[in-house]
């Protein structure tokens, strides 16, 4: 797993590299959310930077003077680090593209604007089955394209866009292949590492990343799993594991289980869906990003389709139990967790709901550990 460490090192030094690039005149575009296509940003000649941090309680708390405290700690974190003066990248961004698919993201965009950070909102209508909404998203992407062209002074040609779509498709393909290796028991790579790998993939130059992922895939095929054959195979579901929020996946795997697959809306690449490179590329981007992938929880209707997808993952990855990782005050995921819990009950699959406000003090982790360990123990008992 030296490659993971190499990637981690690249990510750690990313802010300095971005600064160097910016000094050479390259624009740095921050973005929030799965509906903002990196492909467009790369095609404009700018460098994308995903804002997706989480896992610490102080940044969301820093936002409370400006926002209701019963808001997502994840959304609040995206500006919280900046308000604390400890975000090395946000102050240097030439543009922040914020997807507005729910109230939490839209309020986050309000704060970016209030603090005079250069912001562009990408509206995502949750009623995704309507042609009205599909057109709305397409128009939003067109506006984003124009904005990027104006920002960088570069025309986004079809050729450039195709090149960048190809490049991101390659990354998705490789991640998908690595993910599929996890089907075999015991998984060759656990959830803690796979989530980190996904995170690293957002902060590396695509060409370098493709090389590293190719090497990693080859290496993994030859490696032996570090997990025991008896380790329960868990599915980790929820909204997002933010960059830096690794306590829960690590705890699960330190407690004798393995996260064999994830079902997360944000912070991972949805690598089962590639963007087509023939025909109208903007339409292809719009269709893949908005229509083809499993809908996020906020979409309506979504929950039946999502429950079916989880059921499929349970079958495909031979899952023994589901851990729902909820974030405090995320009202939509809270409702969905009740539905998934019911579906799991009907399937006789053990289900554990955890909730985090990113409070991982020693006092908070103690009870969390007990819950996770008890759950894993009960799943193990069922396997006997």
């Amino acid at each position: 797993m030296d490659i993971l460490e190499e990637l981690a090192k690249i990510v750690r030094t990313r802010p300095e590299k971005l600064k160097e690039q910016q000094e050479k005149g390259i624009k740095i575009v921050g973005y929030i959310g799965r509906f903002v296509p990196e492909e467009l940003i790369y095609a404009s000649g700018a460098i994308p930077y995903l804002l997706c941090r989480g896992g610490q309680p102080e940044p969301p708390d820093a936002v409370i003077p400006y926002m209701l405290r019963f808001m997502s700690p994840y959304a609040r974190s995206q500006i919280g680090y900046h308000l604390l003066g400890i975000d090395p990248v946000v102050p240097m961004l030439d543009l922040v593209v914020v997807q507005c698919s729910d109230c939490h993201e839209s309020r986050l965009a309000d704060l970016f604007e209030y603090f005079e950070l250069p912001t562009l909102r990408l509206g995502i209508p949750p009623d995704w089955k309507k042609s009205l909404s599909q057109d709305y998203y397409y128009k939003g992407l067109t506006r984003l394209r124009e904005k990027l062209e104006n920002l960088t002074g570069n025309k986004i040609s079809d050729e450039k866009l195709k090149e960048s779509i190809d490049s991101i498709n390659k990354i998705r393909d490789l991640l998908s292949k690595i993910n599929l290796l996890r089907k075999k028991p015991p998984p060759i790579i656990g959830g803690d590492d796979f989530i980190r790998l996904n995170h690293y993939s957002f902060y590396c130059e695509p060409e370098e990343l493709v090389r590293k992922l190719t090497d990693l895939y080859e290496q993994l095929q030859k490696s032996e799993s570090l997990f025991s054959q008896e380790a329960p195979r868990l599915l980790l579901a929820g909204h997002v594991i933010g960059v830096g929020d690794y306590v829960v996946p690590k705890l699960i795997e330190d407690s004798g289980a393995v996260v064999a697959v994830e079902f997360l809306d944000e912070g991972v690449r949805h690598c089962a869906w590639n963007v087509k490179t023939d025909g109208d590329l903007m339409t292809n981007l719009s269709e893949t990003y908005y229509l083809e992938r499993t809908p996020p929880s906020i979409f309506q209707p979504a929950w039946e389709e999502r429950a079916e997808f989880i059921q499929k993952l349970i079958g495909d990855f031979n899952i023994d139990g589901v851990v729902w990782y909820g974030l405090s005050f995320e009202e939509i995921y809270s409702l969905e967790s009740s539905i998934i819990s019911k579906v799991m009950d009907e399937m006789n699959i053990p289900f554990l709901k955890l909730e985090s406000s990113y409070e991982y003090s020693r006092e908070a982790v103690g009870p969390l550990t007990t819950r996770v360990e008890s759950f894993i123990e009960s799943v193990k008992q069922r396997r006997i």
Binding site: C100, C103, G123, D127, W303, F329, E331, S334, L335, S338
Partner: protein
Amino acid sequence: MAKDINEDFLRLTGFEEDEISQYLPEWRKACEKLGLTEEDIKFATKEQLPAHFAVELDGIRKLLGCFVKETIDLTKASEYKERGVKVVYGILPATLHFYYALKLTAPDKVFVSFPDIFLTMVMNGFFHKLAPYLEEAEKAGIPYGCRHCALNKTRYATHRLGIIPSPDISWIWGFVCDEGPKTDEFIRIYHDPEWKTYITRMPHDQPLGTVEDEVIDRVEYLANQMRDGFEAAQKEIGIKVAEEKIKEVIAIWQRYAAKLSELALLMTADPQPLGAVSGRLFWEGLFTPLNTGIEQMEKALDITIKEVKQRVANKEGILPEGAPKLLIYSIHPTVPWVAKIFEENGVGIPLSEFFILTKKQLKPSTFEDPYMAAAESWLRTSGMVNPGYQAEQICEKIETHKFDGMVFGLMDFDRWLGSSHRLLARIVEEKTKLPVFYIEGDNWDDRDYSPEALRTRIESICEIMKMRKA
């Protein structure tokens, strides 16, 4: 005189003697369905209503009576449905015209209601007995700890408890929060596959300060969403509404809104002639469709305006002359004690910002098309737009009505309307240089934020205001 507490209750709520005998059996039946006991009726009659509503005024008693009649009617919704009447629900906030146009088109074939807000208003405002509904929802999939909205819990719980039937169509607007429409999806999947929903939504993606009603693309998108939703609702229940009907409804509501504006002006007289909660209850007519119609509420409003005018002429007030007055974002009759604590401490909160209009809102629409007009009107409304534009409108209202400051908050349950208040408080304070306060609380559900919990905060605000005004 009868000793039956239910009769006393109906009398207190403005029922005429000949109406009482007609409505009493129905009211008793409604109480049984809602889970109201004689003790609850006694509490409302002897304590809650006299303490918080101006029941000495004939108009206010009649207004309370409108709520009672609508409550009775709402508890009969299942019977209506069994008889083939189409049940149409919606949630706050939405443009009422469409729901009323359905009702006007086919009065005997359609039942319209926003059942959650209505029942929340009556069950907590009159009887302080919403908690059993909330607890019902909390034990069946809508967890307590996440601060879910009490309205959504009430909609779900009252269906679970058999108080309201599943709708033929629940046309849900998600122009504000996400949880409202998603709760309908939740109800359908988790509890009742018969709960049919059509959603109408729009992203919050306008930059701070955008005058949204002047962005033609946005007005058009919203109008198209409204048209699409209304057509879907009509198709689902098999009733076709002519555009003329929508225009007819708009005319009725403009008339009602004009009267409300008159009441709003009277409410800001010095001394303040009427308690905030009593006046505020009339605004429900602008936001919640009544299956029993608006006519009775309009009559109650006419009487109240006359009575309040008399008070103004007599210089009669609920507060001393010159008392400080604050604009409050929204005061709800569901927690009437909030206004009472302000008023007991010598500070008026006569009007809710959410419900009063700017000069632009009073102007006729730019558009003939009823959908474009409704969309434009929506985007002229402060609570529906980005906080920059909203703050501009709030500042205008403060200036127009000469408020001494403003109170935000009490909207903790709402990830849209409530989530911007701290930011708005900063912007409005910067612009007006007036004191602006924020109260953490919940306008629907006072289990966590009780009078005891909020009294100190409100008293401190009142002390500051009185010192500034002295």
